[in-house]
Amino acid sequence: MRPELKEYNLDWLFASTFNVSKHLCNATPKELKSMFKYIPYVRGLLEPLLATGKPAMTFLDFFGDYYTEITNAKKNGKKVVMTTFCFDPSIFYAVDNVVPVTLEIGTALTSMLWKRGSTDFMDYCTEIGFSETGCSSQRGAMGAYLAGLGADIDLVALNMGGVCDTNSNAYAFAAQYLNVPYYGLDYPANLTSEDVQEYHHKDYRALIRFLEENTGCKFDIDRLREVLEEKRKQDDLMNELEEMQRLVPNPVPGIYHIMIYAGRFIFSGKKKYTRMLGEMVEIVRKNAEEGRSGLKKGIEKNRTFLLYIDNYALGISMVEWFEKKGISHMGSILSRTFTETAPYTTGIPGTTYRIDTTTLDTMIDTMADINARMPMTRTIRGPYDAPNMWLEDSISLAKIYNADCCIYNGTPGCRNTWSNIKLLTRDLEALGFPTHIAYADSFDSRVEAWETTETRLDEFYKIRGLL
């Protein structure tokens, strides 16, 4: 590992970056131009982010809060729980003494903000014994925490068992390496049967017991209700954005997708996240009223649906490339909530979740149901062509958003999707959706340089006559 990386605490670095960056929202264009000279890599994210205006300020603000909380956790007598992006963190915000740290967010941030991303941290994981073929989304930030360059982790809790081996395996490795308690929610292949629902609920209750035993936390019914009610507001706002996304041209800026899911993965149930969503809705409503595309140039030439995740190499290169080409980003697997009120869940009751704050029991069941319907835990758990799984979800979303084509982009560490993406692509092509498989790694540009990914994308759009 490069010595300079050992000089700083990762959480402190992020906290400092965001706490300073949020003030740039008040800067003049001239000041910004001067500033960008000095932050050539951070600029890759910051410049397009700041261009979104108000939502950017809130986004930077709560990211600053998030990492400040982690940095000060021990000082404030709080336990730090390592968790994954598909685990809804709102449960942690219903107690006083727990702070979540989400590895994939840290990995994505380093990929977007640093010249060499988190490759040193990834390689550190390999040096200490972790499989080099494991998913890069965890390996990045995980390396920092295992090397003692981030917050001291007190426990590990996540929800990818049965959905993504590489994910849960990485967290199991971390727990063992750090010698801290581990709890993984486990998911059967089915989503909707009664016995599966019961399994979800029992498993989540066991998780609550695990949290109580290992952190001494006490769940306050009123606080949990408050968090869930906040979450309901957030879902409603996301639904409104999703609904407006059906318009042609799509009035939602592509970068919003990343901001929305990144926020959800760390700040679900928190008021500042609600505020950002509200600010986005206001802007998108105006775009919609004026018939304006969310693209900066205002001209939509193509609508692309991402079957999996975005690419986080060198800023937000893929989103920026879409901007350049006039391609509307129609969201990815990470964008959707699968609440029963979402526009795309009409007609598929039972596969969604309902926020029920009547009693403590209904709230715990709600949390279990939400976790079982987080982007990946819902969509890529069972056979890809089973009801309500990856194929059906992709087709219905691509149709509802009137997508012209689809792109798969992920990481070579994803055994799950690399085991059936060829099947999915074949089916989508047969249904008339040109589909491109990118071989890049969203978090590690050593696998494929962004320039190569870009060339291949360019080729795909040209050859298929999509632009």
Binding site: I128, G161, N169, D186, Y199, R415, L423
Partner: protein, 384 residues
């Protein structure tokens, strides 16, 4: 009996299986050690562990699987695609790992393209990733569902008596395997790893009663031997990803070494590795098959697993441990990393290697690494 085992371990056209089929009896394939075989025997069906041996290319499998996945499920698909599993009356797939559970998706898709490659019956056994509480109950229910599906598909009845009998008979095989393991733990070793492991693999594909007879004979034969095959050779233990091909062990033993034990999805691990013959038989099966959380797919159970394995390795009294994983098998790949650290703490030398499943195309590289490890052990720098 050596030839019987070798034939069963190295080919897919196994005479005893052909004989079984000639009597109009059914054969059902399966892919993972967490699939209980007893209900099949209770139904008069031969459970046959699927192997990807003899797959010399991956051109069919590569049409369905992507490039970044383990070669074991790919080899299974390839073999199935070439029609070599055409004799199967059904297949039970389970979630041993992500790639293995996606064999369900890929095989069904292949069935649309290659006529006859899809067996007449497919069942998915949903095995939990934890052994206790609600997960245990879930698994019990899964076994019951599988039994009901067997009864419906094959028009048979699995009575409690038949299930008890199947448990008892399978325990008899386990007891024999434990006898074999005990023989391999003796200071004077009278059986090579290749021979023993060939016999262990054969047990996953041969009809149980025929197998038990041959295994019993082999044990008796070993007991009567006088040559110590481990004399002046290093005793090693092999652990990690699935390995149903004794070529890897043979390669290791071509160096100055003997494989005295393995932890590779097959065989028994200790004298408690049996199904209880009292109480509810389905619960007893669930307890046995989930016990010890023997595979890294059971995440969060490393400590219990490694303690058992360490104990076993010490009992076998080996000079070193080879930890291997198939490329892209992250479960074993990272667990090997943890176990390597713990072996070091226990002053047990280890070698960590990554390989491909199937024909040993990289035998030169592997041989060189094993040779170097043996040399290291022989130099005296590494002591137990």
């Amino acid at each position: 009996m050596k030839n019987v085992f070798q034939e069963a371990a190295t080919t897919l056209d196994i005479p005893s299986v052909q004989e079984w089929k000639k009597k109009d009896r059914k054969v059902v394939g399966y892919t993972c050690s967490f699939m209980p075989v007893e209900p099949f025997y209770a139904a008069g069906i031969l459970p046959l562990r699927l192997r990807g041996i003899n797959a010399t290319s991956m051109e069919i499998a590569d049409s369905y699987y992507g490039p970044f996945v383990c070669s074991f499920p790919k080899a299974l698909l390839q073999v199935a695609g070439t029609g070599k599993y055409g004799f199967l009356d059904g297949v039970v797939l389970s979630n041993g790992c992500d790639t293995l559970r996606r064999l369900d998706d890929c095989w069904r898709k292949m069935g649309q393209d290659i006529k006859g490659s899809l067996p007449p019956w497919f069942h998915y056994l949903d095995v939990p990733h934890k052994p206790d509480g609600h997960a245990f109950d879930w698994y019990v229910n899964q076994i019951k569902k599988m039994m009901a599906a067997i009864e419906k598909q094959f028009d048979v009845t699995i009575t409690q008596e038949k299930l008890y009998h199947a448990i008892k008979e399978q325990n008899r095989v386990r007891s024999l395997l434990w006898e074999l393991e005990k023989l391999r733990r003796k200071d004077e070793l009278k059986v090579t790893g290749s021979e023993a492991y060939t016999a262990i693999i054969a047990g996953t594909v041969m009809p149980r009663d025929i197998y038990a007879g041959h295994l019993s004979d082999l044990i008796e034969d070993i007991q009567n031997r006088t040559v110590d095959v481990a004399a002046n050779r290093k005793r090693l233990f092999l652990s990690g990803s699935v390995c149903d091909d004794f070529d890897l062990i043979h390669l290791i033993e071509q160096s100055n070494a003997i494989v005295a034990g393995e932890n590779l999805c097959f065989g028994v691990r200790n004298d408690e590795d049996i199904v209880s013959e009292t109480g509810d038989p389905v619960a007893a099966l669930a307890a046995k098959y989930l016990s010890g959380s023997v595979c890294p797919r059971m995440m969060g159970w490393y400590q219990a697993r490694s303690a058992r394995l360490m104990n076993r390795i010490k009992n076998i009294n080996v000079d070193g441990v080879i930890l291997q994983n198939i490329r892209f098998c992250d479960l074993h790949g990272s667990e090997n990393g943890l176990f390597e650290r713990d072996l070091e703490k226990n002053r047990l030398p280890s070698l960590r290697i990554e390989r491909e499943y199937g024909p040993l195309t990289e035998s030169g590289r592997l041989r060189m690494r094993v040779d170097a490890f043996i040399e290291q052990l022989s130099s005296g720098n590494q002591t137990r």
